[in-house]
Every structure is written in structure tokens, then in C-alpha cells.
């Protein structure tokens, strides 16, 4: 799967003002700084569009959908097929409408998860280039995973129990074609074990001290090679050091401090695809 990470387009969605106040969140510790969030978001967009040269499709914000900026949860794209998910949080179900429209427009084969028993957040889907791992979490259930397996029949789809954290990708992600970035928590390590056991492939792992820092965005872009968007040293100094060991990667620290307060990770902000 040499095509892994070779993206040409990114679908994003503008941030509604309601995010800072109404977005779902798993902890209520600190308030979200609306300006800060917007600044981070803008930076992210500019990195993708200006620095990396991706076509960024920006969907309009919807104030009724405070979480709509996290487009990753609404669709899983692999090859030329897109599975429109059925987000686990009822309040987010309508987010898929705009996503479906955008993907249709881009010419992808659309598969919708219509089963009312199925739920899935894209954040629970880890595609390694060779196979899928689907976290079974508060937001994603077995039925959702089955539908994903039926949609992408070429690939093995293994289920991974997610006991802590919101999504599977809350503590892991792909940092390279065969490289899994993984957090250090027990839950993360346990999940990694399962991943390794379930797979015929031998993945390398990149263990970072902070679970949330393990969510990074890997791309393989023409002229730039391996590209990795990862956490910033200000937020996760130790984890950043780990990323900095990846000498062959083009490393781009992207701040995500504010969105993290509403469980937003780096991968959440975009759906990457290749057309």
C-alpha cells in the first residue's frame, strides 16, 4: 500500500462560535478560549493548504452543530470509497450531511451507515494502510464496525476495545507507513498489544509519554516525503522530543491546546483523501 498517506485533498469545516460553549467534552476543567481555538484552527488550515499544498475543501460552519469542526468523525475514506458514519453522539448525527455532499461532489463512492443500531465515530477508526482497527468505544459499536468491514472488504477489520479516552485515536495514530504512535498509559499500551496480536503485520511503534500527543497526522506528499503534524513542545515537551527523533520526517508542530479541551485531536479536524 504505497499509496498510504498520499493525499491530495483535505475536507475541513469552519468552526462555529458555539464550539467554545456547547461542544461536547469529557471533562469540564478549563474553559475554551474562543480566540485561541480559532487561531489554532487557522494555523492548521494554512499548514495544509499553504505549506503542504493540499486542496482544502472548507465546509461552512453550522452553529447548531457545535462539534462540526471535527469532521473526521463523520466519514471514513479509503481509496475511492467513503463510508458516511453514524456518529455515536446523537447531537452530531446531522454533521454527516454536509460531509456526504462534499464527498459526493469529489466523486467518491458513498456508503452510508443507515443501520440504526450502528454507531461509529471516525475517530475510532485507525487505518494503517494494510488494515483497519476499529475501537469499540462509547461512540462506536460492533455493528458500526461490521458495516465498515462490509464496506472495505479488501481489508481485515479488527476490533479493539477502548476502555479509556474518547476514541481509539485519542491515544494512537499512524506516524508512518508502518509506524504506530502510541501513548504510554496502560490503556494505550494494552490497546497496542491487542493491535499487535490481531495483525499479521509487524508494526513499529513510537511511544510518546502523553497519550494525547500520540495523535498526529501523517502524510506522504510529493516533493516532501514523510510529513508529520504533531504536538508542540509548549504543550507536550517530552512527547515532542520523541517525534523529533524521526529524522526522515518533515516535522510540523501544530498547536492544538484549546481544541484538546473539547477532546479535539489533530486528526479530528480533517478528512484526508486522494483523488
Amino acid at each position: 500500500m504505497s499509496d498510504f498517506g498520499k493525499y491530495t485533498h483535505a475536507i475541513m469545516r469552519a468552526m462555529p462560535a458555539s464550539l467554545s460553549t456547547a461542544a461536547l467534552r469529557s471533562d469540564n476543567v478549563s474553559p475554551v478560549d474562543p480566540l485561541g481555538v480559532q487561531r489554532e484552527f487557522d494555523h492548521y488550515v494554512s499548514v495544509l493548504r499553504d505549506r503542504l499544498g493540499l486542496q482544502v475543501v472548507m465546509l461552512p460552519a453550522d452553529e447548531e452543530l457545535p462539534d462540526c469542526v471535527f469532521v473526521e468523525d463523520t466519514a471514513v475514506v479509503c481509496g475511492s470509497t467513503a463510508l458516511i458514519t453514524r456518529p455515536g453522539a446523537p447531537s452530531r448525527r446531522s454533521e454527516t450531511v454536509a460531509m456526504k455532499g462534499a464527498l459526493t461532489e469529489l466523486g467518491l463512492n458513498i456508503v452510508e451507515m443507515n443501520d440504526e443500531l450502528a454507531t461509529m465515530d471516525g475517530g475510532d477508526v485507525l487505518f494503517t494502510g494494510k488494515e483497519f482497527f476499529v475501537g469499540l468505544s462509547k461512540r462506536t459499536n460492533q455493528r458500526g464496525a461490521e458495516i465498515l468491514a462490509n464496506t472495505f472488504k479488501d481489508y481485515a477489520v479488527s476490533t479493539i476495545p477502548v476502555e479509556e479516552g474518547l476514541h481509539l485515536k485519542s491515544f494512537c495514530s499512524m506516524a508512518g507507513p508502518n509506524l504506530i504512535a502510541i501513548g504510554s498509559s496502560d490503556a494505550a499500551q494494552k490497546a497496542l498489544k491487542v493491535i499487535q496480536q490481531m495483525s499479521d503485520c509487524k508494526y513499529e511503534k513510537l511511544t510518546v509519554p502523553d497519550d494525547r500527543a500520540a495523535n498526529c497526522v501523517y502524510m506522504n506528499l510529493p516533493g516532501k516525503g514523510d510529513v508529520l503534524l504533531h504536538c508542540t513542545p509548549e504543550v507536550f515537551p517530552e512527547s515532542t522530543k520523541v517525534f523529533e527523533r524521526l529524522k526522515s520526517h518533515m516535522l510540523i508542530p501544530v498547536s492544538n491546546q484549546e481544541k484538546m479541551k473539547v477532546d479535539g485531536a489533530l486528526t479530528c479536524l480533517s478528512v484526508l483523501l486522494r483523488i
Partner: protein, 1000 residues
């Protein structure tokens, strides 16, 4: 060891059959006899042995010579005439004279009637390696054995004398026989050769041979008379219909008792397929379930009442098809995959359907021709289970883009894409987990996959699996403990029925062996008791197949790909010329390539005499219940084959290359090849046919005896030969894969050949004692696999296995002569101080001079020895994660356990306190029908004394129909016999009975 005059009647106590030998002597009065005697110097009684030896010289002069030298002095006289006067060892002989005479008469008279007596069979099958035992047995059944042998002898004679033409009549039957024979001969030959060199020759074998000879001399006419009858009986032919991968039918006549491999080879020949290890024949059983045809067993017994209708298909999907050498092989794999895809067995996405379809089109039709190919030109093809117009359009679109691609390239591309599919090569079986949830078990190259719907919920790589078993309709895998875990866990699955459980078990065994081992594991010889499955994969492993593939050196075979031409194809079959060449070459090659490991000498190299002898030996040793079949075999013998070859030689063109090819195959895989090749030698089907004999299994059984000396070689061959067709119907639980850590350092040999050699070495050192052990040891060593780095450490560490080590309790105190058990061996002195350690036979590394001390522990129970009343069930990852190990009761089976320990008085205290130094530890597992024997041998060095402790765990499994007590008694007896010098210090009987049983 004085054999009494009444030797005939004497049972097991007397090692040798004096009477027969003497007879021979009288008749033949051959000088070399003495030599043979020498072979068994101190141990066996001189007189009897000498007598036995006498006959051998005729056939096996070579052997006799080396042996004779040492004891030449003693031997000379006795050999000569029957008269006692000359004999130096007269004592015994003189006594025996009268009985012999009687015997001869009786034998001659009896022969016709007795011919089919199966007496000898048991002995051979058991393949007891201890000389004593064998001798005893042989002695026990003098009459029956003699009679049988006679038959065989007769056959041989005929074969020699008969012109080829006559043989043709027998055709298929003989063909089979030939195959078997050849196999047997190949196997035995090496053994013999080695023996020759070795001073210690086994008398029993010699005796048998001698007997044969005698009989030949005496009753040539009889034999001739017998043959025709048998032939007529065997002539029954059956037409097999085989559906080939392109959908065409191949029909072929086979003898009714033909084994699976005969048909398989016929098909491969028809297809001109060389890389055949990935393929197999299957049939539908009464329940419409697909079953693989076991090549080593009779077809008829496998299909039962079903039709003689088979399908040729891929059994082991090569993970990397690009490593296949021939395009033909890839083409066949493509055809299989196309079937799999069209039928939905191999699911794939729309895009992949289209892509694969387009490659298939390119391979079959070539470049898309806009003129010829109308839009509907592809509607004849099926690319997907539910083919849509949209898909067809996509296929055509992609087809266009493949312009210029050759069929072979298109196939290669097809495979490159197909192999990535997650379900590629996964053999699915319906099952339920411990909670009754429907799941699927997927057996594949890397291990066992567990699916729930389409989702993979667990995966057990081969290295993680310690044991695979089934019991009734349950299928169990024992999992190696993880880093953090201390105990092995067992996962159970419920299959729809017993047959399904066995089927998945078998498939697992086969896949494990094929993909994970470097060479197949040797099936265990059952010494006693028959129950349970001895099944093992006997074909070549992937490693061996690859090795062989790299050596293929024949012109690219021509074949047609077009499916539309199916019909014509089926008719023409593979070009005859090709086939004949092929076979021819093979034949010639066979002669040259006697690798050390393989020992295929049977053909060209060996002098004619030898050839004949060998087959005869086999036959003689292995007495089969079916008398008729035997005779044929004997007749069909190797010599004929040779003749055929010669005649054909002229025709053959690519001999050199072919031979090379054959050699490579032979070398790589000792297994079934030899037989096949031999068969092929004959070239024309008609000639070949007659050679096949149903008796193959018997031959195999005979092997062990012959092998004792050079266990290694014999062992290698065994798997192929081992049909054990009789046994087949397995009832209960069977243990298969033991990836347990094996102590042997030599183990992981990358090359098959080297591995083979390795085995031989190890086996040699250990040889003699038990057939079972021999068979297993090598396999074990081989088992260590390099694939998985993680585990290598464990596996390679010599005495890594936890159990054994712990159990090694260095017992300093002198072993008590008394064993509490009734059966304690009196004859053997348990004396610790006996300088030579008897254990030697089993153990390669022996410390001499030390005090050897052996404790035999026999555990008899109906469940695995390490009994866990509770098993951990981890049927999906959730369970694994949530509760580190949630212990649940084993599904369905409730058991009652009882443990009784008997210990020899002195030994009890064993703990001297001083641990001593562990020198070696070794675990050997062998299995018979209803017993699993795990032998753990540890050597400890304590204060300058070496102590050997052998611990045997014998698991006797079976329903109430088994007499467990008897089985236990038998097991203990066996143990004693195997280690006469050791004392039994402790017997632990652990009985586990199922209270509530489930039916299938």
C-alpha cells in the same frame, strides 16, 4: 537367553526364532550365516542369532560381511549344514534341530492356508525399537510370520521372472503396489546400508529375510499358484472424476484401494504440474462438507459412500505467489482465486473485483480488441458473486489499460493484488465460542483467526499456539502464556459436530506444518492401544516446496489458459510426450540423488539384488491382514520398474534437466515423492498401474524395525509411508501441535536437507529404544522455527520448558530396587551404579561413568496431563483485556479427577537437598491413537555422578470402551521395556472422568 527347543511356542521371552533359522541353514547351508550371528554379540544369545544369520548371506551378502568379521571365529561352522557337528555354538542348535525339522514340514504344508495370517503385522506396526522386544515378538509368531513371508517371497520370485507384459495385466493394482513398494524399499534401503556398516545388526530383521529366502526356495511353485487368484481379486477398478480448476473434468481409472496420492499424482501429471505441494484433491462428504483427500490413505476409506467425484484445488495458498517458479502454477492459483472470488468465498471490494477481473480478461483474452470485443464480451465471465453492469464496464475500462501485458504478467498482477486481500488463503469454519456466540474460525498461513461476522475479534499466530486438540465437537487451542501471564490458557470452540471439529483440527495441523515448520512432523507410531488420531501432515512444507521450486529446471511447460477451450483441454490433457519425459527423467534422477537424508536409492544405483531384497524385506516385515494384496506387491517389485525405465529411456529428451528437477524435489521433501516418482518411472499408465498396491501402510509399519539403527533416515521416510489407514477413524481427543520448547540445539535448520541430516544424527544417537521417540525427536527439533523472532529465544533455549526443569529432582539416593508396582521389572537391575547408562538410547548426550538413575512416571488420565480443571477462555479480545484472565469453567465438560501416586520406597524422599547441575533436559512427545506420551528426560550432574531421570506422561484418552487399567498397565510395561536398566520410582495415576458428556 537360551531359546528353548520349543522356540516356536515360546513367546516373547525368546528374542529370536531359532527354528526358522535352522531350517534355513539346513536347506541352504550357507557359510555366511556365522557372520550374522556375530552381530548380536553379548546381548542376544549367541546360538540362536547365529542360526538366524545363516540365511541372510544369500540376499544380503554385503551386510553379512561386515558383521561377520568380528565374530568370524564363532560363526563359521554353524552356518554350514544343519548338522550340529560343525556348529560351534552347537548347544542351542543341536537342541533345536528336531523342532526345526518339524517346523519346516509344517510350514510347507500350512503355507497355502496360512498365507494371509496377519501375525507379523502387529509387531511391525508397533515398530518397537528395542531389539529384545522385537525378537520376542518374532519368536512368538513363528508360524504365522513364516507363512506370510512365504507369500511375499513368492511374489518376488514371480516379479523377477515375469515378463513385463504379464505385469501389465495387473496394471493399476500393481502400480499402487509398486509405489508402495518402492517407497518401502527406498526407506528400508538406507537403513540396511547403515546396518551393514554397523556391527550390531538386528537379528530380527535378518531372520525375517532369511525366512523369506527359505520359503522361496522351498515353495516357489506355491507362490506362483497363489498369485493369479490374488490378482483377479485386486483387479477392481474405479473411475474417478476430478473437476479441475478450469472447470473441466478429468477422469481416471484407479484401483479400488488406491490411495489418495495416486489419484492426485495422476491429476498433476495430467496438468503437467510440478509445484504441486500447494494443491490437493477434495471431495464432498455426506453432509456436503468439503474434505481434503488424504494422500496417504485409501481413497475408498475416505469418501465412504460418496461418489468418486473430486475437485482439484489449492489447499495452501502461497502468501507470496511471486515466489512460485512456474507460470503454470500461478495460472492454476489464479483459476482457484477466480473461483473463490466469484463464489464470494474471497470477498473483495468493487474496485478490486474490477481490477482482478480485468487482469483475468487480459490473461485469457489478451489485449482488448475494440472490434471484436463488444460490450457484452465479458458477460460470459464472472468476476463477482453479484456482477453488475457497472462492474463489467469498469472491468472493460481497466482491461483496456493492460494492453501489451502477457498472460503470465497478467496472472502475476492478478495474484499481487489478490494476495493482499485479507481473506486470501483463509479457510473458514463455522463455530461458536464458549458463550454460544456464532463465530468463524479462519485457518491461514499465519495462524488461527477468529471472526465474528466480518470482524476479526481475535488472532492466534502459530507461535502462540502450544497445542491443538479436539474432543467430540469441541475444538481447543492451548495458548502460550504471554509475558505477564504465568499459565497457559486454553480456548475452546464449539463446532457443529464431531466431524467438523476434526476437520478444523486437521486443517490446523496441516497449515501449521506446511507454513510454520521446515519439515513435516513424524507421525507417531502407536505401540499399543489404538484410538485417537495419529494424523499428521505428511506432505512437503512450504519451505521444502520453495526449496524444490528453486531447483526446477525444465523448459517452461506449455499450457492453455483459455477457459472457453475447456472442453478440448480436458480431452487432450497434458501432452503425453511431456509426461513420459517427465517421469522418465524423474526416474533416472532418482537413482542419482540418493541424498543422505532421503535415501532414495531404490532405483538405479542399487544392484538388482538389493532392490529385490529390500522390497521383500519390507513385505516380510510388514505382514498385512490382507494376504492377497501382499502377494501382488511382492510381485510388482522394483525390478520391473527398472525394466520399464530402460525401455523408455530412449524416448526421453530432457532427461538431464528433468533428473535435476526430480532430484531437487526429492531432496527437498523426503515424503511422498519417492513413491510418486517410482510410479512415474513406468511412464505409460498401463505399465505403471499394476505396480500400485494397496498395502502401503504395511510397508510403513515395517520401517521402524529396519530403522532402529539409523533412526534418522527411516524416520524421515516414515511420514509418507505411514498410511495408517486402518486407524483412521478417530474418536476422541487428539493432541497435535506441540510447539513446546525443545531442548535440542540442532533444531532449527534452515534447509530441509540439512534438517534431515540433523535428524539423522539426533536420531542415531537416541536410536533403538522406541519408534515413537525417534519419530518425534527429529520433528521436534525441526519444529523450532525461525520465523518469529520473539519466540526464538524461548524455543532455542535448550531446557527452556518450565515443567521439565522443575520436575527434575535430582535424586541422589540409590534407586530402590523395589518398586511398589507389581509390574516392576525384575529382570532389569535398577542398580544405580551400573556404569553404562541405559538411558543412552534415548538421550543423545550421555554422561558415562556417572550413576544413572531413572524415574519413570506414568500418568494415566483421560485428560491432558497438566490438568486444569478450569480453563481460561479468551474467545475475544474483550475478555482478554477486561479481565486479565477470566477463568471460566470449561465449556460443557465436567470432570471428576482422581490422583493416585505410587512411589518406590526409597525414591520418595528423593530430594537430597542438593539440586545438582542440570546437564540436559529433553522432552519428547509422541502420540498414538488414544495415548499421548510425553517423555521428559533430564540429566543432572550431582557430585560427579550423573543422574538420568526419565519422566513419562502418558495420557490415555478414550471413552468407556477403553480399558484404562489395562492401558495403564500396558503403558507401564512399555516404559519398563524401553528402559530396562532403569527402575520405576513413581507412578502417578491421574484419572479424570467426565461426568456430563455432550454428544456431538
Amino acid at each position: 537367553m537360551t531359546t528353548e527347543a520349543g522356540s516356536e511356542t515360546d513367546v516373547k521371552k525368546e528374542p529370536e526364532k531359532v527354528p526358522e533359522v535352522e531350517q534355513q541353514q539346513e536347506q541352504e547351508t550357507v557359510p555366511p550365516q556365522t557372520e550374522e550371528q556375530s552381530s548380536k554379540p553379548a546381548e542376544s544369545e549367541a546360538p540362536p542369532t547365529a542360526a538366524a544369520a545363516a540365511d541372510q548371506p544369500q540376499e544380503e551378502n554385503q551386510i553379512a560381511e561386515p558383521q561377520s568379521e568380528p565374530e568370524a571365529s564363532a560363526s563359521p561352522d554353524p552356518s554350514s549344514p544343519p548338522a550340529a557337528s560343525a556348529q560351534k555354538k552347537e548347544k542351542g542348535i543341536s537342541r533345536f534341530l528336531p523342532p526345526w525339522l518339524k517346523r519346516q514340514k509344517s510350514q510347507s504344508q500350512e503355507k497355502p492356508a496360512e498365507s494371509p495370517t496377519p501375525h507379523t503385522e502387529p509387531i511391525e506396526e508397533k515398530s518397537v525399537k528395542e531389539e529384545d522386544e522385537e525378537e520376542k515378538k518374532s519368536g512368538d509368531q513363528p508360524d504365522g510370520g513364516a507363512a506370510e513371508r512365504t507369500e511375499e517371497v513368492e511374489v518376488k520370485e514371480e516379479a523377477q521372472s515375469r515378463p513385463q507384459e504379464e505385469e501389465q495385466e495387473k496394471e493399476e493394482e500393481e502400480k499402487e503396489k509398486e509405489e508402495e513398494k518402492s517407497v518401502g524399499s527406498a526407506d528400508t534401503q538406507p537403513a540396511r546400508e547403515e546396518r551393514e556398516g554397523e556391527p550390531e545388526v538386528k537379528e530380527s530383521e535378518e531372520k525375517k529375510e532369511e525366512k523369506k529366502e527359505q520359503e522361496q526356495v522351498i515353495q516357489p511353485e506355491e507362490s506362483a499358484a497363489l498369485l493369479p487368484h490374488k490378482l483377479s481379486k485386486k483387479m477392481k477398478m474405479v473411475v474417478c472424476h476430478v473437476t479441475l480448476l478450469d472447470g473441466s473434468q478429468f477422469s481416471c481409472e484407479v484401483e479400488k484401494r488406491a490411495k489418495g496420492q495416486y489419484l492426485f499424482f495422476e491429476v498433476c501429471e495430467h496438468l503437467n504440474l510440478v509445484e504441486k505441494d500447494y494443491f490437493a484433491l477434495s471431495f464432498k462428504d455426506n453432509a456436503e462438507q468439503r474434505c481434503w483427500l488424504d494422500p496417504t490413505k485409501e481413497i475408498k476409506r475416505q469418501i465412504r459412500n460418496s461418489q468418486w467425484q473430486f475437485a482439484f484445488s489449492v489447499k495452501f495458498y502461497p502468501p507470496d505467489p511471486s515466489q512460485l517458479t512456474e507460470d503454470l502454477t500461478r495460472y492454476l492459483l489464479c483459476l482457484q482465486l477466480r473461483q473463490d472470488i466469484a463464489s464470494g468465498r474471497l470477498p473483495c471490494s468493487f474496485v478490486t473485483h474490477a481490477l482482478l477481473g480485468s487482469y483475468a480478461l487480459q490473461a485469457e483474452l489478451g489485449d482488448q480488441d475494440p472490434d471484436e470485443h463488444r460490450l457484452d464480451y465479458i458477460s460470459d465471465f464472472q468476476f463477482a458473486p453479484n456482477q453488475t453492469k457497472e462492474l463489467e464496464e469498469k472491468v472493460m475500462e481497466l482491461h483496456k489499460s493492460h494492453r501489451g501485458m502477457t498472460p503470465a504478467q497478467a496472472d502475476a498482477q492478478f495474484l499481487e493484488n489478490a494476495k493482499k486481500l485479507s481473506m486470501y488463503g483463509v479457510d473458514l469454519h463455522h463455530a461458536k465460542d464458549s458463550e454460544g456466540v456464532d463465530i468463524m474460525l479462519g485457518v491461514c498461513a499465519n495462524g488461527l483467526l477468529i471472526y465474528k461476522d466480518r470482524l476479526r475479534i481475535n488472532r492466534f499466530a502459530w507461535p502462540k499456539i502450544l497445542k491443538i486438540s479436539y474432543k467430540r465437537s469441541n475444538f481447543y487451542i492451548k495458548i502460550r502464556p504471554g509475558e505477564a501471564e504465568q499459565f497457559e490458557s486454553t480456548v475452546g470452540f464449539k463446532l457443529p459436530n464431531h466431524r467438523a471439529a476434526k476437520r478444523v483440527w486437521k486443517v490446523c495441523v496441516e497449515h501449521h506444518t506446511f507454513f510454520r515448520l521446515t519439515s513435516p512432523e513424524q507421525p507417531t507410531k502407536s505401540k499399543f492401544l489404538t484410538l485417537g488420531s495419529k494424523f499428521r501432515y505428511s506432505g512437503r512444507t512450504q519451505a521444502q516446496a520453495r526449496q524444490a521450486s528453486t531447483l526446477i529446471d525444465r523448459p517452461t511447460p506449455y499450457f492453455q489458459r483459455t477457459s472457453s477451450k475447456r472442453i478440448s483441454r480436458s480431452l487432450d490433457g497434458a501432452p503425453m510426450v511431456n509426461i513420459s519425459d517427465y517421469s522418465r527423467a524423474v526416474d533416472s534422477a532418482a537413482g542419482g540423488d540418493n541424498g543422505p537424508a532421503l535415501e532414495l536409492n531404490s532405483d538405479s544405483k542399487a544392484p538388482q539384488v538389493e532392490l529385490e531384497e529390500k522390497p521383500s524385506v519390507d513385505v516380510a516385515t510388514s505382514v498385512t491382514s490382507e494376504s492377497a494384496s501382499k502377494t501382488d506387491k511382492g510381485g510388482a517389485g522394483a525390478p520391473q520398474t527398472k525394466d520399464l525405465d530402460k525401455t523408455q529411456e530412449d524416448v526421453l529428451k530432457h532427461q538431464a534437466s528433468i533428473s535435476e528437477l526430480k532430484r531437487s524435489f526429492m531432496e527437498a521433501a523426503p515424503e511422498p515423492r519417492p513413491s510418486q516418482w517410482d510410479k512415474r518411472l513406468t511412464g505409460s499408465p498401463a505399465t505403471t498401474l499394476r505396480l500400485q498396491a494397496p498395502g502401503a501402510p504395511q510397508i510403513s509399519s515395517s520401517l521402524p524395525e529396519a530403522d532402529r539403527r539409523d533412526a534418522s533416515k527411516s524416520t524421515e521416510v516414515k511420514p509418507e509411508v505411514n498410511g495408517q489407514p486402518e486407524v483412521v477413524e478417530v474418536v476422541e481427543e487428539t493432541v497435535v501441535i506441540e510447539e513446546v520448547v525443545k531442548a535440542k540445539p540442532k533444531s532449527p535448520t534452515p534447509e530441509p536437507e540439512s534438517a534431515a541430516q540433523d535428524r539423522s544424527l539426533s536420531s542415531d544417537s537416541e536410536s533403538e529404544d522406541e519408534a515413537e521417540y525417534h519419530a518425534h525427536t527429529p520433528s521436534i527439533s525441526v519444529q523450532l522455527i525461525k520465523e518469529e523472532p520473539e519466540e526464538e529465544l524461548n524455543q532455542q533455549a535448550p531446557p527452556s520448558e518450565p515443567e521439565p526443569i522443575t520436575e527434575t529432582e535430582p535424586a541422589v539416593p540409590a534407586p530402590s530396587a523395589q518398586t511398589e508396582e507389581d509390574e516392576a521389572p525384575n529382570g532389569h537391575s535398577p542398580i544405580p551404579e551400573a556404569p553404562p547408562t541405559e538411558t543412552e538410547e534415548e538421550e543423545p548426550h550421555i554422561v558415562n561413568g556417572g550413576v544413572s538413575r531413572v524415574e519413570t512416571e506414568v500418568i494415566c488420565c483421560s485428560e491432558p496431563p497438566v490438568v486444569k480443571t478450569e480453563m481460561v477462555t479468551i474467545s475475544d479480545t474483550f475478555a482478554a483485556q477486561k479481565t486479565e484472565i477470566s477463568t471460566k469453567e470449561v465449556p460443557i465438560v465436567h470432570t471428576e479427577t482422581k490422583t493416585i501416586t505410587y512411589e518406590a520406597a526409597q525414591l520418595d524422599g528423593n530430594g537430597d537437598g542438593e539440586p545438582g547441575v542440570l546437564m540436559t533436559a529433553q522432552t519428547i512427545t509422541s502420540e498414538s491413537l488414544c495415548t499421548t506420551t510425553t517423555t521428559h528426560i533430564t540429566k543432572t550432574l550431582k557430585g560427579g555422578l550423573s543422574e538420568t531421570r526419565i519422566e513419562k506422561r502418558i495420557v490415555i484418552t478414550g471413552d468407556s470402551d477403553i480399558d484404562h487399567d489395562q492401558a495403564l498397565a500396558q503403558a507401564i510395561k512399555e516404559a519398563k521395556e524401553q528402559h530396562p536398566d532403569m527402575s520405576v520410582t513413581r507412578v502417578v495415576v491421574h484419572k479424570e472422568t467426565e461426568l456430563a458428556e455432550e454428544d456431538d
